[in-house]
Symmetry: none
DNA sequence: GTCTAATCGAGACGGTACGTCTGGTCTTTTT
DNA sequence: AAAAAGACCAGACGTACCGTCTCGATTAGAC
């Protein structure tokens, strides 16, 4: 297994933490081992199969070391997820709204349905339904930022003059990503490209987008 | 406390079950006590606070009696939910598509955010993320049927000639209800009437709806 | 290993306890397994090596089963000891005071220095120094009764007219057995027959014993 | 609180140790703080309540500092005890055997039942039952020397001609102090002056003591 | 006046056992 | 036949100490 963390490691690692159990901070080695063990276990045995004992055992770490830095197994999973996925869902910038949105929704669908991190994410969303405090942590740690990223293509289009400025961004984003999450979390139906492209098309039609590639004409195609 | 079960009791009760711990079949009394205990506990203490031991204790029933009829605590909660909410979300029939959809989405939002049954439902959706078998049970026990109910306004509109027949129903439903679920399950934002009405308006615009009240004109655009 | 419990089983077994985990009482099988595991462990690994986890594991019993019936590992050891040793130290009755006392002290010395039960007993006495509540339990469970047994030879001698009635029994017993315990618990010196016989001789000399075998003479000096 | 160590400090302090954390030796300040913390904790919380972590915390010392100089908590307690009690139980010299013995046994009884050091001593004796290596350390560090002190009155009496030379000293000492320890360690009965005086009387009677105060007569008064 | 080496406080580390809790299984008696 | 009762095995929970370790600060004596 392993997790192939990218070097960037945007989220958790405390500044300059490469030492070993001394006053100068925690062991980065132990931290990484715990995070890897946690999401390996989630992928292998599912959410219920993740226990702090199991994480500690697989990470070759003392239980107390896990408890010292994380309160619950879901905090570990969240930490692991944040580290893995921080940059997975940044929408691309092709200079074209339609293209950007299609690519972004497709990427989101694949992330949720195909990647290990997506599996972790679904588990975390699931747990958030049972634990309001964790829901808040998940929101502030990930969802808020993700919503900001989701908004980027629209904001760039506004800047380009491709899109009217008065849009209710939040509502539009919900209409774009909401159906994707809905299929992933509740329905059993596949979330294929046809589906995500259709969401984009519906948006373009209702949002009076100026098609820059086909300048001079108004309307949505 | 209590649950005010409607007489209909659409789901579980075995035929002729009014006895109590005798040779004549299971005790309907015990069954009801268990279901009530389960969702009372959920409302009071949250999903984690529901345990089979706790259910049995509060229902005044032996643990084995719970295990005899349900495999897990989530099966109890599902059973309780189905009994309570079976018909809760049937969309109304005003003879007008726009009116029906607006009312239905509003009702859905209220159900999810305000009712006890909605709280149970969110908990079950949460658990389904951790347990594929339960997810399947939840789908076949409720979600599939609910999707059929969600479709009713559209189908009636097609029958009325208000809506073209070639529509991809599943995708349209996802675009209508998906954003609602998304806000409820993931975002912290309120799901007010303005939001749900906007979803309906977007649908009407993209779906070439014939406005019967304003007959003679074609399309909405 | 094993413990070869004598059938008599004077102490613990609850009345009619041969069933298995039902409402009618505890499992006698589990109880025996726990007691045997406890003193096997003590003999093998010493007092520190006895843990409730270890007892449960070796007995093939759940930890909770141990905790259900005993509060601490020392309670288990005490129970085991009582069952093993209840009648181990009853002084013999030869009809002669000197003979009885010599045999009894010799038996006590051998019990303490040679038998497994003696090892358990020393451990319990040791623990009693750290735990006043346990000390009281040990006294009421064993020591008080043992002191009564220690007194028997003297009382029989009084009944026979071999010994004056006004004796301070407690003080005399302490002078007889105290030195034995002292050597066992504190000194490293052997407690051989010469030593125990000397204690008896000193007692006979100071206690104005009528030597029935040599009737007619008074006093021992 | 505190311990009021007498200046003599017979046991541990290394020569010229008043520095603090440099190459030339240990910190006497830390050493004293540890010893005081250890027996304060014992008196306050009992043997079980003494932990190396607790000692270090209360002494305001790092755990490692304790481990650097002592192997176990019982070694700390032993060290503390030796420092406190080294000369506590030296029998007086009145020039009279009976008087010396009566005073000595009385002092022993009071030490064991009344003083803080006596409480520590009982705890150490208790632990020695569980740990043969510690038992040996306790014997060589204290008991052997104490037995030598116990013997002093008898040896002086022999020198004075008050007592026959052929006596088995060890056995006689055991008969004098054994019953006292026995009552302290095992029985709940008080160890009052009447009891200790009786032990001396029994000894005098059996040991053909020449009463110097009443010279000329033989026998034990 | 630096340099060196031992000890100090601090505290993270891998571990073991604690005592508690819940999950599921089982057996017996009662209805 | 199913209920109530509750003991059973199993194993995770979160905590307390264990004994080891690494660190940076402190402080003599050696140079």
């Amino acid at each position: 297994m392993g997790r192939g963390r990218t070097a960037a490691a945007a989220v958790g690692p405390p500044p300059a933490a490469r030492h070993h159990g001394n006053r100068h901070g925690r062991s980065e080695q132990a931290r990484q081992a715990v995070l890897e063990a946690a999401d390996d276990l989630l992928v292998e045995k599912g959410f219920t199969g993740v226990t702090i004992e199991g994480i500690a055992a697989r990470a070759g770490v003392a239980k107390q070391t896990v408890y010292r830095w994380w309160k619950t197994k879901t905090d570990v999973l969240l930490d692991a997820f944040l580290q893995d996925a921080a940059e997975a869902l940044t929408p691309p910038d092709h200079g074209d709204l339609a293209q950007d949105l299609r690519a972004h929704l497709r990427q989101l669908a694949l992330f949720l349905t195909r990647s290990d991190a997506g599996a972790v994410f679904k588990a975390l969303i699931g747990h958030a339904q049972h634990d309001p405090a964790f829901a808040a942590a998940l929101r502030s740690g990930y969802l808020d930022e993700q919503r900001r990223r989701d908004r980027l293509p629209l904001e760039r289009a506004v800047a380009r003059g491709q899109l009217a400025a008065g849009l209710d961004m939040a509502a539009e984003i919900d209409q774009l990503v909401g159906p994707v999450y809905h299929r992933v979390l509740m329905a059993a139906e596949p979330v294929d490209q046809e589906f995500t492209d259709r969401l984009v098309a519906a948006f373009l039609r209702r949002a009076d987008v100026v098609d820059l590639a086909d300048a001079g004409e108004a309307g949505s195609r």
